[in-house]
Symmetry: C2
Subunit: 336 residues, 2 copies
């Protein structure tokens, strides 16, 4: 309990416990060769003098950290939070810690984050999406560590990926809408060029409409992503003014879909008969809204878990296979 100037080190423990420094070090590694009682003596001594293990020194000497670096667009999105949760839980069992950063949906910020993270020599790096700045791509390629892209199914992956085609997911929704009879269908999303997953969904919408021989020009850009429920509502208002005969709307997220829904109701339009509404993400809000929202479930948590498994596979020298997640269309009362 003595409060000296310097915090105690393993050398102090060694001296007090009457063993060598190396023995102290071994006492802190769970699977190392050391007798039960020696370990107990060491750990007790450590506890007594208030020793705190120095991860920095450990990482430095062994030339590898116990970090896995992860970048996501926004902390506050429930989807990405679920992914992080699955990832963190699975990695924790191996003593790996998440180093989390968010990009604000800016590739430039992502590049900066990646650069910062690489300085820590993480065991692996996980990024969201398959599009990055030129420099970021180069950094990742030269990083000499597992690189996992998530939430997308990139045509030219840097390393591995765990994700799905955002365009394909929206196609499912369009197919459903067309099948139940909607024809004049619109799309509400964020501004193009920032949120690449949102852009992909928009492109998927256009392609799917074209495949059905339908007009795909009803596109509303609601501002920089992520677009909120309020922005979704405002976009819905603009949509109905521009195209009053719109029969259905597909939104880039459940958040915005919920906003669009409330705007419809404010105007006396009752889903699903007056208008069909679809979202994306399977957020809780879509399950409690009235009517509940038709949506796409991207299996956010599963993405995280599979990413963790993939990382562990690669680190253990097993082959790391890309994972194609199959997003599920969930039909609820907001569409026929």
């Amino acid at each position: 309990m003595a409060d000296n100037r310097k915090p105690p080190t393993m050398a102090d423990i060694a001296r007090i416990a009457g063993v060598s420094l190396m023995t102290v070090s071994r006492a802190f590694k769970p699977d190392s060769l050391i007798s039960r009682e020696t370990r107990e003596t060491v750990l007790t001594t450590a506890e007594n003098i208030g020793y705190v293990f120095d991860s920095t020194a450990s990482n430095f000497r062994s030339q590898k950290s116990d970090f896995v670096a992860v970048t996501i667009p926004a902390i506050s999105s429930p989807n990405f939070a679920d992914t992080i949760g699955g990832l963190a839980d699975r990695l924790a069992s191996r003593g790996l810690q998440i180093l989390l950063g968010y990009t604000n949906y800016h590739m430039q910020d992502e590049e900066r984050l990646i650069e910062q993270f690489l300085r820590r020599k993480p065991q692996a790096i996980v990024v969201t999406g398959g599009r990055h700045t030129e420099r970021a791509r180069k950094l990742l390629q030269n990083a000499h560590m597992p690189v996992i892209e998530t939430w997308d199914s990139p045509s030219e992956p840097i390393g591995n990926y765990v994700g799905f085609s955002n365009a394909g997911a929206v196609r499912q929704m369009v197919d459903h809408f067309v099948a139940v009879g909607y024809r004049r269908i619109a799309f509400i999303g964020g501004d193009v060029g920032r949120d690449t997953r949102g852009s992909d969904r928009r492109m998927g919408f256009v392609a799917a409409m074209a495949a059905h021989g339908l007009d795909a020009s009803r596109l509303i850009a609601a501002g920089p992503p992520p677009i909120s429920a309020l922005e979704g509502a405002a976009a819905m208002a603009r949509l109905l003014e521009a195209y009053p005969d719109t029969e259905a709307v597909i939104c880039v997220s459940d958040q915005s879909a919920f906003g669009a829904l409330t705007e419809c109701q404010r105007r006396g339009l009752t889903p699903p008969t007056d208008i069909g509404v679809g979202g994306f993400g399977n957020f809780e809000i879509g399950a409690v809204s009235n009517p509940r929202l038709t949506t796409i479930d991207p299996s956010s948590r599963l993405i995280g878990e599979r990413t963790a498994a993939l990382i562990l596979d690669i680190l253990d020298g097993r082959p790391g296979d890309n994972v194609e997640i199959a997003p599920a269309l969930i039909v609820r009362e907001s569409s026929r």
Copy 2:
């Protein structure tokens, strides 16, 4: 571009650029004593050979990291996400990086996280709430670094705090409800003993009701925190079965309040006349629901910004003052 076995170090740069190792080191510190052109030579060389700065070695030698450790109950809560956002943005300007962990509303998990984080020798540690395990308190007290508790106004702070009285915030809501005429008021929260901020709000409810001479026995525990909208709806159903004459309900969060609201509407009760509903947190959902939710705005982002400022004050040797945040009551259409 040569892809040797070992990644290049400062020594390699020094050799190639024809300067000493120490000069290379200085070239990477922004405010160090080095001529403009020497620095440029060094940095260019570094870029050419694909050098990546080793933060671990740097932190190790200088015996201080550029981390600030932060624990929050859950990643997915918009409130904590905003706090993290404010904190991270302000700290980034000083090159400090957030080391984030979540406790799942478990003090035990928090203790484990704190122990893990302290091994990294962060510059400061930020925890959510003012209640911790005995051991966690001790660890923090002995940590020899700034310790900030947030989202609470602890009676016995470990170090400093940036927060508010959760009980006091709820008192404002009760006062408002009573002032506009509600009397038989209930409270919906999570199970007691886990989420201490939620428990504090519940206690604040009971105390405030007592102060008005009103009965405070209508307390519904809706499960382990955080309680979702669906759980809020279920709790509302139970509440109305147990106490059909309830005039108003205060919920521990906007999420649960929104669920409660939908359950009321499902039963044909129209706020604010048939029943009053209040939430907590000023989430977006309360601003887009119909009717919009009366709530408390805890200034989540401000908490993060003030926490960052407090940390920088202390690190710079300035006096660090505790910050009392004043949560604002926002009256909307869900209450009279």
